[in-house]
Amino acid sequence: MSTHALNAGEADATFYLAEEEDHDHAGGDGGTMLGFWIYLMSDALIFATLFATYGVLSTSYAGGPAPRQIFELPLVAVNTAMLLLSSITFGMGMIEMEAGRTRAVQAWLAITALFGIAFVGIELHEFAGLIAEGATPQRSAFLSGFFTLVGTHGLHVTVGLVWIAVMLVQVGQRGLVPENKRRLMCLGMFWHLLDVVWIGVFTFVYLLGVLR
């Protein structure tokens, strides 16, 4: 970066190289974090279409059960608490990651996974109860929309659990290398976004469903 005898072209080339170095240096998260964020935004659009579908179909009971008759709010409240707790425990894991404490990161990841497993378990219990009562996805358009929306969210949480398991193995094998930090940050965004989607689910599906 000497300042003498540079023509405009060389100055441009130097500037470009400096920018590349910038990207490599930022923990290897050059375009990855933004790219993963844009994936998450497209995932949010999938949920938007499912919310729209549910909104359109939510009063089409076809003579079947209405939300008030089948939703158990105490169970949903417990489920919501599980997901919220898993969000804060993941956050604690991210703070330990910044501090470079591998064992603590693994412990918080494991706790997060336990809350996630509890969430999916309670949801499956709820689904099993609904199906046993005859409130199956085939019963009415309302129930089709309900199972599709809530089931897609549950499937995402399940994929997040698999990802947590993979990260536990990777952190165990290689420690907190830059690649694993980058992956953990992506996983964190994914996990927190699922919690944001769940706010929409418990508000618009469960709470407003019971009020209807």
Partner: protein
């Protein structure tokens, strides 16, 4: 050259420390706000303290939007600075699309029946 590189590194480090993750304090503030913003709507609906259902509905929806903003700021760390502002731009764009998709679908489908041509008895399929 070396002096310049040194500056460069220092700049990058401060950059790396300020974006993408929050402090323990910001996570705990976000968590405390979320607990309140979750507990209040559940309490409103489960106890039915407000006699007026319409007010309860509006309150529950308002609290959900506040909680979504809290999660976005304290857990997802979307700020005007993160990734040069591009995460915020992508989020705003997505929010606009979500509003169009959801409100547009509801608007069209709720008015579909009333805007359909009335069906005469002859045009109806025979009842089984």
């Amino acid at each position: 050259m070396s002096a310049l590189d040194g500056n460069h590194d220092a700049g990058l480090h401060s950059h790396g420390d300020t974006h993408g993750h929050g402090s323990r304090k910001s996570y705990l503030i976000g968590f405390a706000l979320s607990v309140v913003l979750t507990a209040v709507p559940f309490w409103l609906v489960m106890t039915g303290v407000l006699a007026d259902v319409q007010t309860t509905v509006l309150l529950v929806i308002a609290l959900a939007f506040v909680q979504i903003v809290v999660h976005t700021v304290f857990f997802l760390h979307v700020t005007t600075k993160a990734e040069g502002g591009w995460t915020l731009m992508a989020l705003i764009f997505t929010a606009v699309l979500i509003v169009i998709v959801i409100s547009g679908s509801l608007w069209i489908m709720y008015h579909l029946n009333s805007n359909m041509m009335p069906m005469t008895a002859g045009a109806m399929p025979p009842s089984p």
